[in-house]
Amino acid sequence: MEAPPVTMMPVTGGTINMMEYLLQGSVLDHSLESLIHRLRGLCDNMEPETFLDHEMVFLLKGQQASPFVLRARRSMDRAGAPWHLRYLGQPEMGDKNRHALVRNCVDIATSENLTDFLMEMGFRMDHEFVAKGHLFRKGIMKIMVYKIFRILVPGNTDSTEALSLSYLVELSVVAPAGQDVVSDDMRNFAEQLKPLVHLEKIDPKRLM
């Protein structure tokens, strides 16, 4: 079931619909150091932050053609951090001139029994992967440079292999709906990372 375009939906229950603005690109392994170096210069001054996360994607199949997708992510290197459940809607097709991919996003922190609970709700795991990389911040923008690892034995996060010889670079902002100035700021920042990496709006549907 396609939810109606989010910008038309009223504010329900006192919460405002949040949108994720996204630009993506990639760099080959050997260019990683120079990218990190530039990001360290451009981004907010903070301790370099690395992360090791395990993400599982769950699907709920209904009568509708497209299943409902939820992403459950847990930190493998920070003990005690809550699990992160994320729903991402369909990309808003509105303005072709908009510089970033915009989609509705709901982020929920949960307790550790999330996978059991999702299975009880009827969700089934579609695929999982491990993401390992660096995290930078500039104001409300979040920049992640990470490598995706395929899990060889389902459920066993120790045996993984890298999916490719490159790092995925994502520039994202989560902001209330309707703030298009955000994508302009993102584009300006992305300009500063050229020619090391070209961040662009990649429509996930075109890849399928």
Binding site: G13, G62, V106, F117
Partner: protein
Amino acid sequence: MPVAEGKSVQQTVELLTRKLEILGAEKQGTFCVDCETYHTAASTLGSQGQAGKLMYVMHNSEYPLSCFALFENGPCLIADTNFDVLMVKLKGFFQSAKASKIETRGTRYQYCDFLVKVGTVTMGPSARGISVEVEYGPCVVASDCWSLLLEFLQSFLGSHTPGAPAVFGNRHDAIYGPADTMVQYMELFNKIRKQQQVPVAGIR
């Protein structure tokens, strides 16, 4: 740990609160626990081959930033309040059971290490029962303080003191958490839902 009784609601609540105030408990504001029921929509049943399950989504003013989602005899998920937004998105798969919202609202009392909450359970406009929750702060293992709680309950509930909650069944020595409280509230609400509507007593 909630306890239930239903008589003529308004007067019983006043009786209880007066007893508590005589004991020396201090009034500390109000509380609210509410529960909504969802069931899996017919469209998702075919692919799973199982009967529709009931999911309860509850909030507790004691934990204002959390949302509790549970299945009867199943896991209880503790999430933040964005979970409600997610339920709106899941409207096609999980439908809210009609007129199912049940809640209890009342006053919160503090008596030394005990936290007592006496509330009126309402479903829509009608009052259906009374909930009494007693929490003993310092202890996190149920079996260690059950007898103390029982004694305290007897001091103001008299003959209505309940037996040990089912939630402790096989886990007497496990650490008690907010999820256990919500399971008890869910069982209480279900019990009250199944009861016939309490007849409204004449005003004396």
